[in-house]
């Protein structure tokens, strides 16, 4: 459905894409991962005809998307990273407008709008002005607008940013449904759990290339290391080989159970403060971090918060 070959793009001197190759089959969800600024949005925008590539090829459903963007648009759906809705128009007008642009009229148009609204729980809101919706509702409308033309290749660029749990689940459900009908979907996200929930295959974009590509399980098995995680009251003590983030000490090791047996007798004065011992299964997150070789402070903070949440609960 989607074939991208050797795509390159520079903004001035700044080379963002340096020969990207990516394929997606009908019905496949590709989780496109990569740190901020990796070029995910640039890649998606090029295939959707919004920006020009410097070199390379891209076809969607057999149509050369770079040579004939106007033809590719007939089969393409895009929900851009930034929210894009008409705040002064109703939800129905927002959906209807893009349905009309795709060539639908009359009964078919109304049916399509009703279907998409139903799928994203917008039916009750059809008459409401989009500007007065809540953040989550706006996100749902934003995604719904990319579906009204029933694309065969769909790009969702961080569709759940800022969305509440309910909205996120609804969007994930719709994505799975679309894939089940044979739509190829490229889904960029920073939430690795979403990629896991979607059962997506993974493509990791870094330094302008796809550095890892394949089924989630393979990537996790290959690059994800299991870990031993110790949580303390107060800050974690310095332990040899462990990475310390606040109250949590983490050791990446192929055999966390054995490591636990070894370390627990040697905590000395910190034994009293030990609150939990966890063996962390290899996850997409671990694989992703190993691949991209970076662990930002944000991630560490998020992790700590996660741990605190668990403690409180």
């Amino acid at each position: 459905m989607l074939h991208i070959r050797g795509l390159t793009k520079a903004y001035g001197e700044h080379e963002v894409l340096r020969g990207v190759n990516l394929e997606a089959k009908a019905g496949e969800i590709v989780g496109l991962l990569g740190p901020n600024g990796a070029g995910k949005t640039t890649l998606v925008s090029i295939v959707a005809g919004l920006r020009r590539a410097d070199a390379g090829h891209a076809t969607v459903a057999g149509i050369d998307a770079l040579a004939h963007p106007e033809r590719a648009r007939a089969v393409l759906g895009l929900a851009p990273q930034e929210l894009g809705i008409y705040p002064v128009l109703s939800v129905e007008q927002n959906l209807g407008f893009f349905a009309e642009l795709s060539g639908l009229t009359g009964k078919k148009l109304r049916g399509r709008v009703a279907n998409v609204a139903e799928a994203l729980d917008l039916t009750e809101l059809l008459r409401q002005k989009a500007g007065t919706l809540s953040g989550g509702q706006k996100r749902r409308l934003h995604t719904a607008m990319a579906l009204v033309n029933e694309p065969t290749v769909l790009f969702l660029d961080e569709p759940t940013v800022g969305a509440d749990v309910r909205t996120r689940n609804q969007i994930l459900e719709v994505v799975r449904q679309r894939a089940a009908t044979g739509c190829a979907i490229v889904y960029t996200s920073h939430y690795l759990t979403e990629i896991e929930d979607l059962g997506a295959t993974v493509a990791v974009l870094e330094a302008g290339r796809i550095i890892a590509r394949g089924p989630l399980a393979d990537l996790v098995a290959e690059h994800g290391s299991p870990a031993l995680r110790l949580t303390f009251e107060g800050s974690a003590p310095a332990l040899d080989g462990f990475e310390i983030a606040g109250s949590v000490a983490t050791l990446l090791t192929p055999d966390p159970a054995h490591a636990a047996a070894m370390i627990l007798g040697h905590l000395n004065g910190s034994t009293e403060r030990l609150r939990s011992v966890d063996i962390v299964r290899p996850s997409l997150e671990a694989a992703y971090l190993a691949l991209t070789g970076r662990r930002s402070n944000e991630d560490a903070t998020a992790k700590t918060e996660e741990v605190i949440d668990e403690l409180v609960a």
């Binding site: 008409y86 002064v88 642009l101």
Partner: protein, 257 residues
């Protein structure tokens, strides 16, 4: 180019324009207020300029109509910029709508509105302010259409060249006052200071007002509008050329705020 899709886009933009009618009402009400205040002065000016029968409306109605029609340039620019503000511009471009369809969809509803504004102002000018058209009514219509073409071209130029909505509004306001003022919207060009008279023909409003004056005050026929209309269209053509040139070289960044 697909006509039914263009129609969809035009209707959409009409809805967007009508979603906030306040500026439209304002741009029609303001010139009427100004005409009321200025008619007496207009009468004195015209009497002094050798038109003893003039009511004053013959100067202030086209003057205010042309000046405030320039403010209408903001509609088209805003129509483009607000798509960026709403984040819908990329969506539009990723839809099946082509660039020409999108641009036409933006321009035609606003052009219709600009034409409506001129028709309404002149109609009220005749009906309420007692303006008499001494020459060709067809010439009046030709000049109104010509004005709309110029204003559309000017909108395209500003939209292509400027980067933000604030810049746009500043330039529109300035252009309306300066171009229309120097072109004779507030007082006939012959009573302006010498330096202003010398540069007046460089303002398209000068030619627009010259055309209106020919058919309103000077009993001109349709042929009297040929030169003013042609000059106005020449300005429009120049603006479109620059707009298209700027639009193509700056590619995707043209619309970024």
């Amino acid at each position: 180019m697909n006509w039914s899709r263009s129609l969809v886009l035009m209707r959409q933009n009409w809805h967007l324009l009508m979603a906030d009618p306040a500026p439209i009402v304002l741009l029609t009400a303001m010139p009427l207020v100004m005409m009321t205040f200025l008619q007496g002065t207009g009468r004195a000016v015209l009497h002094a300029a050798g038109y003893p029968d003039a009511s004053g409306a013959e100067l202030v109605v086209p003057g205010m109509a042309v000046m405030f029609s320039f403010f209408g340039v903001g509609f088209i620019g805003t129509a483009f910029f607000s798509e960026h503000g709403w984040g819908t511009w990329d969506r539009l471009r990723a839809s099946r709508a082509g660039t020409i369809e999108i641009v036409l969809g933006k321009i035609l509803p606003s052009a219709l509105l600009m034409f409506g504004q001129l028709v309404l102002l002149f109609a009220i000018g005749i009906g309420v302010f007692g303006m008499k058209v001494s020459g060709s009514v067809a010439g009046m219509i030709v000049m109104m259409l010509t004005c709309v073409v110029l204003l559309v071209a000017f909108s395209m130029l500003l939209t292509a060249v400027l980067k933000t909505a604030n810049q746009l509004m500043a330039v529109v306001n300035l252009a309306a006052m300066v171009l229309a003022g120097i072109g004779g919207a507030l007082a006939p060009v012959e009573v302006l200071p010498g330096w202003a008279q010398a540069i007046a023909p460089a303002s398209p409003a000068y030619w627009m007002l010259k055309g209106f004056r020919a058919v309103i005050l000077e009993r001109g026929g349709l042929d009297a509008t040929i030169v003013p209309a042609a000059m106005t269209l020449a300005f429009a053509a120049g603006m479109v050329v620059i707009a298209v040139w700027r639009f193509s070289v700056t590619d995707e960044k043209v619309w970024d705020n």
